[in-house]
Symmetry: none
């Protein structure tokens, strides 16, 4: 029955980023952006695994790590929910916070490349626009 619901997760195969990491980061963003609200149920391990043709253990690992992180809660025998008060509060509810690390890295690289701020901002602006 859940086979017609839109896919929550997606992965890029061939990336050097491990699949489980991709899924974790996506889940964090889905919660941070409100696309997954506290109390919402997540699709079952098996469903996600089938949709993305992954091994269930990979998905299980993701849910497990997110539970440790406090983002998800387990209801025994009933699956996973988004935690009511996600403990990763440093990030959640502060969407920019999740974007910051990547932009800080970009800033550092720009500095090492001796690129000035205007050039960087113009490039970022262009990339953001092209993406839409």
């Amino acid at each position: 029955m859940s086979q017609h619901s839109p896919r929550l997760f997606s992965i890029v195969t061939g990336s050097s980023e491990p699949i489980y990491r991709q899924l974790i980061d996506q889940a964090r963003r889905l919660v941070a952006s409100g696309q997954l609200a506290p109390g919402d149920a997540l699709p079952s391990v098996r469903d996600v695994a089938q949709e993305l043709t992954l091994n269930p253990m990979t998905v299980s690992k993701v849910y497990n790590l997110l539970e440790m992180e406090g983002l998800l809660q387990r209801r025994r025998g009933q699956g996973m929910l988004v935690a009511e008060r996600p403990k990763s509060a440093r990030n959640v509810g502060n969407r920019s916070g999740l974007l910051r690390p990547t932009l800080e890295r970009a800033a550092l690289e720009a500095k090492q490349l001796e690129l000035d701020s205007d050039t960087c901002l113009a490039l970022f602006k262009k990339i953001l626009k092209d993406q839409k």
Copy 2:
């Protein structure tokens, strides 16, 4: 003789980014920004390894990969030099090109976080400013 010169490379231990990748990316930026000019000599494998307390094989791997890439050249008995006409022309001379991947990643994350362009640009601007 290079033991008193300022360190060319630096690494962050504990990062998930492999050491050899950190070094490769730094070398590319140093060349792209002109801080290392064609013909300049690079510190010996042994010196770098000692300075950063790395396994020499790790540094050697970096130099080998950069030689294959065409950025460095090996001069027998003289160590590694920056190539006269670095073949990795896609990057060198096009400094923005080296910044692009990280900004593209940021743009993707922003999209998943449903952050609008203005917010992203403002955040990036702030980070660039604070860094100075």
Copy 3:
């Protein structure tokens, strides 16, 4: 009618100990300590499930297992009673026996921690005292 009586059972959600185990152990202790005497009636599956917001099947499983164990008896139309001569004689009437496993585990942990007996006993004494 039992809706105003004090709760016989309690559970800790979020514990790693399964709910049905928590209930079984509690029932055993209640009988062993005489708080539930032979012939006493137990609250209905439905009442317990409602009080603790559990799936009735979970409670039913508990009663079934305790019946198999000989601690409870089923009286048609009257629900569950504490058995007249509980067959789990190894435990009942030997209250210390029910405490033993946990203390044995503590002793093993103490050994691995290389804690001497006096330290352990002093700690246990303190915990018992503070609890009152």
Copy 4:
């Protein structure tokens, strides 16, 4: 060459406690009791797996979780070490702290069994003595 060193870990098959949990708890105790000191190297995943005839992934999971906990550190390509300043400071260096939860559980069970303190202490004393 490490095949003659004494076994650091041991497991009880047939216990309901998962193997990886048994190993985690043991590692914590080994560090807490000083049998493993900060900076000490741990046996490789493969060695432990072979000694205990486990799947390497099971051991890997243990090391992974202990690294997250801050008890261990990973040296890339060189294995795991006991962290210099284990973050699980709440427990480490306070050996009794690791014994406390089990004794608290025992105290709770004693209370439910309506056993008095003296009886409990005598039983614990006996168990500790018999164990030696």
